[in-house]
Symmetry: C2
Subunit: 199 residues, 2 copies
Amino acid sequence: MQQPNIIPPRSGVSFILRQGQQLKVYDIEGEQVSDFICYNLHDKAEYLSSGRTIDYADTIFLTKGHPFYSNRSNVMFHMVEDTVGRHDFLLTPCSADTFRIIYGHTQPHRGCFGNLCEALKEYGIRPDEIPVCFNIFMHVAVDGDTGKIAVRPPKSKAGDYVILEAHMDLIVGMTACSAEMSNNYAFKPIGYEILNANE
Amino acid sequence: MQQPNIIPPRSGVSFILRQGQQLKVYDIEGEQVSDFICYNLHDKAEYLSSGRTIDYADTIFLTKGHPFYSNRSNVMFHMVEDTVGRHDFLLTPCSADTFRIIYGHTQPHRGCFGNLCEALKEYGIRPDEIPVCFNIFMHVAVDGDTGKIAVRPPKSKAGDYVILEAHMDLIVGMTACSAEMSNNYAFKPIGYEILNANE
């Protein structure tokens, strides 16, 4: 078997995923989160939209079978497999501001947001163009009565994965998450692999 | 008393709200929704962010007292008064695609999205720059166990209102919502007023 690519703890990557290709995202050690965002390779103003996707799926918990829509209501990819069944699509990536505001850090890490900014620079994506991300394996509990949210340890165990199949040529940005609460206070790597890269 | 400005049913407006000014948004007849979005007047790449706001507030139900953050984690405004207590910050504005995909309309209305595009054109805001909106008075039920969402009639009655106070100079876009489910199948107007416009 091809070895998956590794995203080291608290870092990010970007790459191109072509229409029809499948991306497998692994939680290598368990209880780790990967913030995921994508853009139409041929028109970067078209991006993954939480609002459109949740509206058309009628759920905030996206899983196997769900199509994921762009801000222009086009399907960007759909989820082919999901061994975990719980991810977040409400929150923006952790950032220096997150660590300052939520954690009270005085010399904050740049977070997944900073890592995505750095990784996506190669494709001309600016920081202001990074919206709400699809946070793979992130477990955000939502109280439907009060609206209260709580970030819990991911339900993913070592070896768990999702597979996403692209419906258009995509620029993808992905991280191994940097925020303590998201990954149960242990920063770990994330694995990924393009399953049919040579077809 | 100054008469409020009226947004006719299924239409939208844009205007400038200066730092320190308060915007009162009325549900004139009851059970109507207003999709609200704003941008930093002096740098339009800074916009209202659902993900940042929900993350810092620890709730998906924003109400009196909550600050609303931009994508750059700056406070754009805070909610000073709220006679309803239930609004939505998960969904994107209804659009021709919404009516096509969710309602099955073959000649769809342009929706709040189309109305915001038209209204914000004056300030050079492009359609791709309209993200998830703060949907005032919109009642979206969320099941915390299954993730399932359901659009319900607003809890607002005739005369209910919210007041928002700007923390920076803002370009504001607002609608009287166009989607049947959001307003209990009766399209109605929305009122608004800048309370301290002449200070």
